[in-house]
Assembly symmetry: C2
Homo-oligomer: 220 residues x 2
């Protein structure tokens, strides 16, 4: 079966966004440093229409983030719902007219809404009946490719706690944010079990890839 | 000048000890899993009198932890002071008659006490006038070798926040402890800055080595 995989950049003190996050500053104070390893890469710059760029040990990780999946699942805040939801407005999120996904995106929300078809093959579907339903819909829409799990942290936590996340890549960035949104909390009891598959030493970042532990215990 | 360096095993959710730590269970629930990468190694087993053992990508990290330093600084709890201190008793800590240090150890405490000389070259010195004094004494005693900073987490935090820690190795273990003692908090404002030097992909653990960022800013 196609896998559900997620890739997140985390500070050494465990945050995926800095303090004082808001709709205007979704990464919080200092949070943009989490993604500095990605921006100079050719793999990133090409996907944003720029010609030059580096190739380094982070390149395969960037390529896995930027391509190869057939659908995405994300939370409402990552779509751009904001703290108050989108209410009555025909809000198109903060991804612009031509979002970088180029495939179906399933947005977890409590507010039902018609699908939103944008340019470049991205259609946002709004799922109100929970994480398992969203994953099922995304798997069906992905045409055999893997499904990417975007953020936010709370959505990743829910899939991880439910044992539904097959693969997780943490890009550990050598900074301290001192506050913000922690990735690894609210993981349930018992906590999920992961196996380390690979660690990559790259300029200014360490990428560690984990998979869900396979073992002959009852499915939780 | 000889460096101050520390090496700690941390869970993916940022803990260096599990929940419900006590004098009887200093690593807390599940905390012993943090050190599983170390125990099978030849470098570890030889230092504990056993003949067999593995050599793998963790070996250089274990060797750096187990040797090469000329003095150690640690907190009272790591010595074995316990929550109530050692009071009137001639308490020798929980390291036994022949502690594995084989060099001078400087214990940060509020309670003055005569040095405690044990077998194998380990003498515990009790330092009551702060972290800078302890480091100065340890540097002088280390005979040109590096100084090792033991734990606990709060002691490492203090040295890190003060900009006194030259090198830090985190052995990131793919487990969730779900609670316990966090390593990276109380780091001051501004937070310390580190550069990643190296990441090592080893069986069941990723070791990442950091050094204090060198830059032309005023010393805090």
């Amino acid at each position: 079966m196609n896998k559900l995989r997620s890739s997140l950049s985390m500070s050494l003190d465990g945050y995926v966004a800095g303090p004082n996050q808001s709709v205007d500053d979704p990464l919080g104070i200092g949070g943009e440093q989490l993604h500095q390893w990605l921006f100079p890469l050719e793999a990133f710059r090409e996907s944003h229409g720029a010609a030059d760029g580096e190739v380094n040990a982070s390149t395969p990780v960037a390529e896995a983030i930027l391509g190869g999946t057939g659908a995405t699942v994300m939370g409402r805040n990552m779509f751009g719902g904001g703290p108050g939801g989108w209410g009555e407005e025909p809000w198109q999120g903060w991804w612009g007219e031509d979002p970088p996904f180029h495939h179906p995106v399933f947005v977890l929300t409590r507010h039902a809404r018609e699908p939103l078809e944008l340019q470049g093959g991205t259609t946002f579907h709004f799922v109100t009946d929970g994480i398992e339903s969203a994953l099922e819909k995304a798997r069906a829409a992905a045409r055999g490719k893997d499904v990417s799990l975007g953020g936010g942290a709370n959505v990743v936590q829910q899939y991880l706690a439910a044992g539904l996340l097959d693969e997780l890549t943490i890009s550990l960035v050598p900074i301290f944010l001192g506050g913000g949104t922690r990735l690894f909390e609210n993981l349930g009891d018992p906590v999920p079990e992961l196996d380390q598959v690979e660690a990559i030493d790259a300029p200014g970042v360490t990428h560690v890839r984990f998979v869900k532990t396979r073992k002959a215990t009852p499915i939780r």
